[in-house]
Symmetry: C2
Subunit: 376 residues, 2 copies
DNA sequence: AGGCTTTAGTCAGGAGTCCTCACCAAGCGG
DNA sequence: CCGCTTGGTGAGGACTCCTGACTAAAGCCT
C-alpha cells in the first residue's frame, strides 16, 4: 500500500539511484564502501540495498577476505534483472552489444550487409542482430539504443529522406521493425550524435560542455553539445551540414564555387558516381598528395566550421570520420578558426575511432537502464 | 539549529518554491487556493507559508469578503524583501525597470545617449539608471539582469570586440561598472537572447522548445532555443551570424557575391558609412520599393536561415528586428525553407516588438529572484 | 435573529525518509 | 587469547509530507 507521496518517492529513488550507480560503477563493493563514496549514512545505504535486493537489481556475493577488519558482503549488479541493447547500423553493416547495468558487455553480434546497402537488407540485419542478442540476455531487455548512419527522426524512429541522402535508399522505420523483436521502444538517433557522446564519455571532449563535432566520411554530419546536453532539434534531425553554404575554388576553372558544402564536394569531383556519398578513399589519397582540389574541400569545410563556430561559440571543435581526421582538414580548420577574430575554440581530431557511435549508444543505454529502476 | 540534511532541505525548498511561485503568479491568493493550485495539502502550505512569512518574502493582507464561506487571509509578495533590476542598453540609450517578485514593475527609468554612442557614455547612463532604480527600491536589490546590444561574454560581463562590431566603440565591462552600484553580480547577455526569451514568454514562441530567432536591425544576430533552454555557448557569445557564409547577386554586376552575410550587405550597399552597422531605414525603404539590391539581401538572409535550419532543426524560425520583420524578408525565408527538403520549420515575424530584450530580461530577473529564496 | 451551509485554517496522528549514536559480528595481528 | 579494525544493524530523534477531524468565520435562508 504505497501511498502517493511523489516528493518522498523522489527522495527515496534519489538515494536508490546513488547506491545503484555506486555499485554499478565499481562492482564488488560493500555497503560501507557505498556509504563512503555516496556520502549517505550506513543505515540509509543498508535500507536502500535491502530495497534493491528485493527488486532483484542487486545481488549479494561472497565475503571479501582482503583487508584488516571484518570481511564485508560484496554487492554486484544482477544482469538477470535486466539488460540493454546498443546497436549500430551503418554502411558497414550492423553491430550490436548486450550490456549489463554496470557496463559489462555480455555479448556482441556483427552482421555485414552487401553493397549497395538497401534499407530492406539493413532492416533485416538489424532485426537479426537484436533477436540474437535478446535471446542471449540472462534477463529481460529493458532498454534499446540504436545508431543509424542517416538522418533520423528520433520521435518516430524513422529515417528521414533528405534531398540528398548519403547512403541509404528506401525507407527504414526502426521502431516498427523492432516492434515484436524487443519488448521496449528503441531510442534511435543518428551516428554523429552518438559519436559525440562517445567522445564526451572517453575521448577528447571529456569534461567539455560546449562542443561542435563534424563527422566527415561517406556522409557528412555534425553534432552539437551545448551546456553538457546534446542538441537534438525539434525532430532530432539537427546536425545536417551538407546544405551549409560554402565556398571553394572549382576544379579547372578560375571562378569560385559557391554552393552548399555537398555542392562544393561534387563540383570538386569527390562524390561517388552513384548516390550522394563522398568518395572517401580518393579524397584521402588526394589530401595525402596535397592536390589543390582536395585542399579546396578542406577550405570549404573550414569555412563551414568557422560559420558554425561563430553561431554556436563552442569550446572545442572535434573533427571525426574517415577524412575529417586527416591532418590537412584539421590544419585548415585550425588555421581558419585561428584567423577568425573572436573565436577561441580549440580544434582536435576525434580520439574514439572504432565504432564510436556504438560506444556512445552503449553509454546512454547504461544510463537509461539505470533510470528504469527508479521509476518502478 | 537546522541540521545538515541536504535532501530534506531540498524537499522543503521544493515546497516553498511552489508556494512562492503560486503567490507570485497570482497575488492575493489564500492558503487554501495555493493548496488547490499546487496540489500540496493545506497543512503543508500553511507550514510553508509560515516559513516564508518568517523570512519576510510573503506578507499577509486583509481578508477577502467576496465568496460564500469564511474569508481567507490573502497572501502577497512583499517587495521590501527584495527586488530585481532589468536593464537594457543599446544604441537608443538605456532603459531599466525595478521589478518585484510577482512581476510588478515598480519603477522605470530611461536615459538617452547621444550618437555616436561611445562605450563611455553608455556606461555612464547604465550606472545612473541602475543607481536611480536601486534608490527607488523598497528593499535590497537581489538580482540584476542586463541586456547589451553587442556580443558579450556572459561569464565576465565584458563586451567582446568582434572584428566588425555593429555599433559600439571602445570596451565596456558591465560587471566592473556596476561593482559598487549594485550589491550583486549582474547577469549580462546580448539583446537577441533576451528577445528570444521574451518571445517565448509572451510571443509567438510560447510553448515551443526549439526556436531559431534572427534579429536583423542595425546589428545582426541570432538566438537559439533548444529543448526549452537558451543556447549560450562556452562564453555566451553564441548567435553570431554576421560571419555566416552567404550568397547574393552584387549591385551593378552580374557576378554573384559570395561572402559573409555582413559582406553581402556591404557589397549591396546597405552598410552605414561609419561603423559596421546596417542602414536600416534605407534598407526598409528599398524593401518597400522592391528594389533588386534589397531583395538580394533578403535572399542572402534566407540562405543563412536555411543553412541554420538544417543545422539546428528548429520547430519555429522567428524573424525580428527593424528590417527582419519586413514582409519581403519573411516571405523570402518562408519560401526558401519551404523549398528545402526535410525542413519543416514554420516561419513567423516576432510579436514582442517594444523593448523585447527588456521583457526577456524582466522575466529572467523574476525567475532568478525567486531562486534567491530557496538557497538561503 | 438564529441556524445551516460553505470555506479557511489549524491540530493531531500516521507514514516515510534521513541522520547520529551505539551495539554486535567477524576478521587480523600481536 | 586479547585488542584493534572494519562491516552491518538497531534504536531513537528530527524532519517532511499526508489524511482526517476540528475550530473559525462569513454568507444565505427561514
Amino acid at each position: 500500500m504505497s501511498v502517493d507521496l511523489p516528493s518522498l518517492d523522489l527522495l527515496r529513488s534519489l538515494s536508490d539511484r546513488h547506491v545503484l550507480a555506486a555499485v554499478a560503477s565499481s562492482p564488488g563493493v560493500t555497503r560501507a564502501a557505498v556509504a563512503a563514496t555516496t556520502g549517505l549514512s550506513k543505515p540509509t545505504v543498508s535500507q536502500s540495498v535491502a530495497r534493491l535486493l528485493d527488486t532483484g537489481v542487486l545481488a549479494e556475493g561472497e565475503r571479501t577476505t582482503g583487508g584488516r577488519g571484518r570481511a564485508g558482503t560484496t554487492l554486484t549488479v544482477d544482469a538477470a534483472a535486466g539488460c540493454a541493447l546498443a546497436v549500430q547500423a551503418g554502411p558497414g553493416g550492423v553491430v550490436g552489444e548486450l550490456v549489463a547495468l554496470d557496463g559489462r558487455i555480455l555479448a556482441t553480434r556483427r552482421r555485414a550487409v552487401s553493397v549497395p546497402v538497401t534499407s530492406r537488407a539493413l532492416g533485416r540485419a538489424l532485426v537479426e542482430v537484436c533477436r540474437a542478442l535478446a535471446s542471449d540476455s540472462p534477463g529481460p531487455v529493458r532498454v534499446v539504443t540504436v545508431s543509424v548512419a542517416d538522418p533520423v527522426d528520433r520521435r518516430t524512429g524513422r529515417v528521414v529522406e533528405l534531398p540528398e541522402s548519403p547512403f541509404l535508399v528506401g525507407e527504414l522505420d526502426v521502431v516498427d521493425l523492432l516492434e515484436g523483436v524487443v519488448p521496449v521502444r528503441p531510442v534511435v538517433d543518428n551516428d554523429v550524435s552518438w559519436a559525440l557522446l562517445a567522445e564526451q564519455a572517453r575521448g577528447v571532449a571529456a569534461g567539455v560542455d560546449d562542443v561542435l563535432q563534424l563527422y566527415l566520411d561517406d556522409g557528412m554530419g555534425a553534432a552539437i553539445l551545448t551546456g553538457g546536453r546534446l542538441l537534438h532539434g525539434s525532430r532530432g534531425l539537427a546536425g545536417e551540414i551538407a546544405y551549409a553554404q560554402a565556398h571553394a575554388p572549382a576544379r579547372g576553372s578560375r571562378r569560385a564555387v559557391s554552393d552548399t558544402l555537398i555542392g562544393c564536394v561534387e563540383a570538386l569531383g569527390y562524390l561517388q558516381p552513384r548516390g550522394r556519398a563522398v568518395d572517401t578513399t580518393r579524397l584521402v589519397a588526394d589530401l595525402d598528395a596535397d592536390r589543390p582540389t582536395a585542399l579546396a574541400v578542406a577550405e570549404a569545410v573550414a569555412g563551414v566550421a568557422r560559420a558554425h563556430a561563430y553561431l554556436l561559440d563552442p569550446e572545442l571543435v572535434v573533427l571525426s570520420g574517415g577524412w575529417g581526421r586527416h591532418t590537412r582538414i584539421v590544419d585548415a580548420v585550425t588555421t581558419t578558426l585561428g584567423d577568425a577574430g573572436g573565436v577561441t575554440a580549440t580544434v582536435a581530431p576525434a580520439e574514439v575511432t572504432d565504432d564510436a557511435p556504438l560506444v556512445g549508444a552503449r553509454a546512454t543505454a547504461v544510463d537509461a537502464l539505470l533510470d528504469t529502476w527508479l521509476v518502478a
